[in-house]
């Protein structure tokens, strides 16, 4: 039920965590997958998150059409499992920019301290 609702609202809403993930996917530029995002978040913000939360956010972003994914190569340290790489779509980029504009606008309205 909730999923349907989200699909209908496609493109209109971006949660805080989703925005963070989306930014990371953008920063990593084609090399974004669970672990690389996790490391990037830790490096940039100091937040610790579990892989599965990142996965969940990625699936949701993909459902909304903000990221696209393709299967990448397997390696020994992955136990021979292939990885799934994510890339930001133009839709995603536009949503990020929207969010940023909105935020800038609001910042300008804030009285100077």
């Amino acid at each position: 039920m909730f999923g349907k609702y989200e699909l209908n609202m496609k493109g209109t809403h971006l949660g805080e965590f989703e925005e963070l993930i989306l930014l990371m996917v953008g920063i990593l530029d084609g090399d974004a997958y669970g672990i690389s995002i996790l490391q990037e978040i830790e490096e940039q913000t100091g937040r610790t998150v579990t892989v599965s939360t990142i996965h969940t956010a990625l699936y949701r972003l993909e459902e909304k059409g903000f990221v696209s994914s393709y299967v990448g190569g397997a390696s020994k340290e992955r136990g021979g499992r292939s990885k799934r790489l994510y890339r930001i779509t133009s839709d995603g980029r536009a949503t990020l920019e929207n969010a940023r504009t909105l935020r800038d606008k609001l910042w300008n309205l804030m009285p100077k301290a």
Partner: protein
């Protein structure tokens, strides 16, 4: 370092393929990344977090795909798939079945753990196989008594030294003082040092081999030690005690502290003082064979047992003379029987009852049978629906064996699911069950190794009961076109017997609950033969205080609200601790009979409202001595025969007395024990029989103020003593606590049994609605009225109910008769006991099937006929 294998395995099997690689790969990489600076435990924890984080429905495979991945063999896989499909196909029936099975398994696990707990009493002693409790047996009356005389052990040791060892202990409530604090210790026992080598009781401080070796020593339980001294080791300290009965003070050196006895032990002691003190204190009783106060346990090798038993008459002869060989004997009760098989033994405080265990196991099995029959019925009902499936499978080459195992597998799956849910439910409901039976059964009784064997057995047998017959029928269907097209003519006889059996069990359960309820109610509410309302009993333990008991009584009378007060040597309910021999003529002199002795003040009968059959109470100044006046009860009068007359002379312990009155029998103890011959007389302080209870009848609205006044009076006599009192009617009710607990258990499980029967009924009627829809529609078209249809439906169920009543009622009445036998005084059988449960069963069935029956009878025939 790699993530735990089982987590990978679970993820692999549970996640959809498109997610599995990504998640598992990331997990691997993460572990690789972190392994330099985390422990395995941290890693494991993290992997678990990932596992649970991944359990979002969208990421999971469908049930069928999971099962597919789990089974490698194509056939087994196919069979499982078909089983799941079959279960899902008939969602309603499956739900009814699973709910029924789950409830029955939950009930089973509860009852099973209760029973195994009851059986575990005192089974933790390493010498349990060789420990026996010595029971005194009065051969003529068949009475068995737990208390044994003091010289018993020595007499046995003289004859059989080396092949028998004794551990004895006897209760003697004391007040112990630590600094300024006084504690009343009811469970103080004098005991042999061998107690702690006979029984396996771990010690917190001290050495069990080396305690109570000399006089003036004591061993206390860990919780007592904590109460007295806190957490320090108290060994070597001195404990001041004041012995009420002996009117003596001792300083006892603490030899050791034993761990608290577990709840599943019947051993009663919390403090054990050296028995040598008791022998000094009560010297006059040491060689007194008539003074029974010790619990005696013996350690005997099995090979010596029969030899020792054969020697008992010789010991009796030496100690009590040849006359007593035919009267008194001793019996060695094995320790494993002490908890459950002691109801006949008076003074045994064990709470177990083998009858309860047997009844509950019967209920457990009955409930499982009802649920299994439900399953069987519904399987059998769907035979025709499955016919096509079977026939086509046969045509495609399936063998009888594959089909057979497929149906067995299907029910095994259902039963296992139900059992799994049952276990979870048991865990959830455990606290409620504990409070229902008021026993602290540890929850790990559920998953002991021995229990798991029983569980497997019950799962398999339920599965076989439930599916063997339909599996046979179905696998026999031939693989040809006629089997596809034509219905199998089912033999409904078998099914009918099943439903009738379920009804019989339901009737039995309701009727049983009803009888037990009525008997317990009867015991609680029936007149005791005296007026127990507003009676307060005060125990006077202290010997020196007992000498002032008349003064205390007189003082109490001055309190407003105290109507009357009297004195007695027995509390109410009475244990009847003193017994002597009585004779009344030459004939009976050679065969004297036992009679209980009670010292009671002259107004005792008046206060309790006990009626005199004939005669009067003794006079106030009449004290117990030669030729003094006594009162006897009806039971004693019956012994004297029809020639009895007032002022007849009787001899008690060879001293002549004059019977001035006979009182009606009254229940001085529970309805489970017989009213025995009793003689009443007045004594003065200091004798063995002297008064140690003040019984007061209070009146007025402000009971608590009256009690407060009484306490004040008490404190003026004994500033250091506790004022302990109780209401007589409450203590009488408490005699039936275990019966009431049993009643609540029985009725809960009976209720569950009936619930499952109703579920089955519901399934039956729904199935009938489905199967006979066309037939009923045709009947309606042909002119049958709604009423006629209802009649048709109810006629069938009436048959089941009638049959169930026919079998269930007599067996329930028989059970009630046996169950009531533990009560000497029973509520007589009333025809209503059979009618009321029958009506209840009929009403419940009508309520269950009524709605569906109405619906069937009022459907529009068009709905079912238009396709033809």
């Amino acid at each position: 370092m790699n993530p735990p294998k089982y987590i990978i395995w679970l993820l692999d099997h549970l996640l959809k393929e498109i997610y599995a690689d990504e998640i598992i790969g990331d997990l691997y990489e993460w572990c690789d990344l972190r392994s330099p600076n985390s422990t395995y435990k941290q890693m494991h924890f993290y992997a678990l977090k990932v596992l649970f984080g991944s359990f979002r429905l969208r990421k999971l495979k469908s049930t069928q795909n999971i099962l597919k991945g789990l089974t490698n063999s194509t056939m087994a896989n196919n069979q499982l798939r078909m089983s799941v499909k079959a279960l899902l196909n008939n969602k309603l029936f499956t739900a009814i079945n699973l709910i029924g099975l789950t409830i029955s398994f939950t009930a089973f696990i509860f009852i099973y753990s209760y029973i195994s707990y009851e059986k575990s009493y005192d089974q933790f002693h390493s010498k349990k196989e060789n420990i026996y409790r010595v029971i005194k047996n009065y051969k003529e009356s068949g009475e068995m008594v737990r208390s044994t005389p003091s010289p018993l052990a020595n007499a046995f040791l003289q004859q059989f030294d080396g092949s028998i060892q004794f551990a004895r202990f006897g209760q003697d409530p004391v007040v112990s003082s630590i600094g300024k604090n006084n504690y009343y210790e009811e469970n103080f026992y004098w005991g042999d040092s061998s107690i702690f080598t006979t029984f396996t009781i771990p010690f917190k401080y001290g050495d069990p081999e080396n305690v109570l070796k000399g006089p003036n020593s004591v061993v206390i339980s860990a919780s007592t030690a904590k109460k007295y001294f806190g957490d320090i080791n108290p060994v070597g300290q001195t404990l001041q005690i004041k012995v009420y009965d002996g009117n003596a003070d001792y300083g006892l050196k603490i030899d050791g502290v034993f761990e608290d006895l577990p709840a599943n032990s019947d051993l009663p002691f919390e403090l054990v003082g050296s028995i040598q003190n008791a022998f000094d204190l009560y010297k006059q009783f040491n060689n007194h064979w008539g003074f029974n106060w010790l619990h005696t346990y013996a350690v005997i090798q099995e090979s010596d047992l029969s030899r020792i038993q054969a020697g008992i008459p010789l010991i009796i002869e030496e100690a009590l003379g040849p006359d007593n060989i035919s009267k008194i004997s001793f019996y060695f009760q094995p320790l494993k029987e002490v908890h459950l098989y002691s109801n006949e033994i008076s003074g045994s405080r064990t709470t177990g009852n083998i009858d309860y265990v047997i009844t509950l196991s019967f209920i457990a099995i009955a409930i499982i049978i009802i649920a299994a029959f439900n399953y069987l019925n519904m399987m059998a009902s769907t035979v025709n629906k499955r016919r096509k499936y079977v026939a086509i499978n046969k045509i495609l080459g399936a063998g009888k064996r594959e089909l057979f195992s497929q149906f067995i597998l299907e029910s095994l799956l259902a039963v296992s699911i139900a059992f799994g849910v049952g276990i979870v439910l048991t865990f959830v409901l455990w606290p409620f069950y504990q409070s229902l039976i008021a026993k602290p059964i540890p929850i790990d009784t559920i998953y002991q190794l021995s229990s798991i064997g029983i569980y497997l057995l019950i799962i398999l047998s339920t599965c076989l009961i439930a599916s063997l017959q339909p599996a046979f029928i179905l696998s026999k269907i031939k693989g040809n076109t006629s089997a596809i097209r034509n219905n199998i003519r089912q033999k409904l006889k078998f099914q009918r017997i099943l439903v009738a059996t379920q009804f019989a069990i339901a009737v039995f359960l309701i009727c049983g609950t009803f009888t037990i309820y009525k008997q317990v109610q009867f015991a609680v509410s029936e007149s005791l033969g005296f007026d127990s309302d507003q009676l307060v009993s005060i125990k006077v333990e202290d010997r020196s205080l007992q000498s002032k008991i008349t003064d205390i009584k007189n003082e109490l009378l001055s309190i407003p609200g105290v109507q009357m007060a009297t004195l007695s040597g027995e509390s109410l309910p009475s244990e009847m601790n003193n017994t002597d021999l009585m004779y009344w003529n030459e004939d009976s002199k050679n065969h004297p009979v036992a009679i209980h002795e009670v010292s009671a003040d002259h107004n005792f009968f008046d206060l309790l409202d006990i009626r005199f059959l004939t005669g009067r109470s003794y006079l106030a100044n009449n004290l117990y001595q030669e030729n003094s006046e006594v009162v006897i009860n009806e039971a004693a009068k019956d012994l004297l025969g029809i020639n009895f007359e007032i002022n007849q002379e009787i001899f008690i312990g060879q001293v002549p007395h004059k019977v001035v009155g006979v009182v009606e029998n009254y229940h001085y103890n529970s309805f489970k024990s017989k009213i025995e011959p009793v003689v009443y007389f007045q004594t003065k302080a200091g004798s063995r029989l002297s008064y140690d209870n003040i019984i007061v009848r209070v009146a007025g609205s402000d009971i608590s103020q009256t009690l407060g006044g009484m306490e004040k009076v008490w404190k003026s006599f004994a500033p250091d003593e506790f004022f302990t009192f109780y209401f007589v009617d409450q203590t009488f009710d408490n005699l039936y606590t275990s019966d009431q607990k049993f009643l609540s258990q029985f009725s809960v499980f009976a209720g569950l049994g009936i619930l499952i029967t109703c579920l089955g009924l519901l399934g039956m009627i729904l199935f009938m609605a489905d199967q006979r829809a066309k037939e009923i529609s045709m009947r309606k078209v042909l002119g049958s009225t709604r009423y006629g249809i209802l009649q048709l439906i109810f006629k069938q169920f009436a048959l089941y109910i009638g049959f169930g009543l026919l079998i269930g009622l007599p067996s329930a009445i028989y059970f009630s008769k046996i169950w009531k036998e533990q009560f000497v005084y029973q509520i007589p059988f009333n025809i209503l006991d059979a009618i009321v449960p029958s009506i209840v069963v009929i009403l419940i069935s009508i309520l269950t099937i009524g709605r569906s029956a109405l619906k069937i009878s009022s459907t529009n025939p068009i709905k079912y006929l238009r396709n033809e």
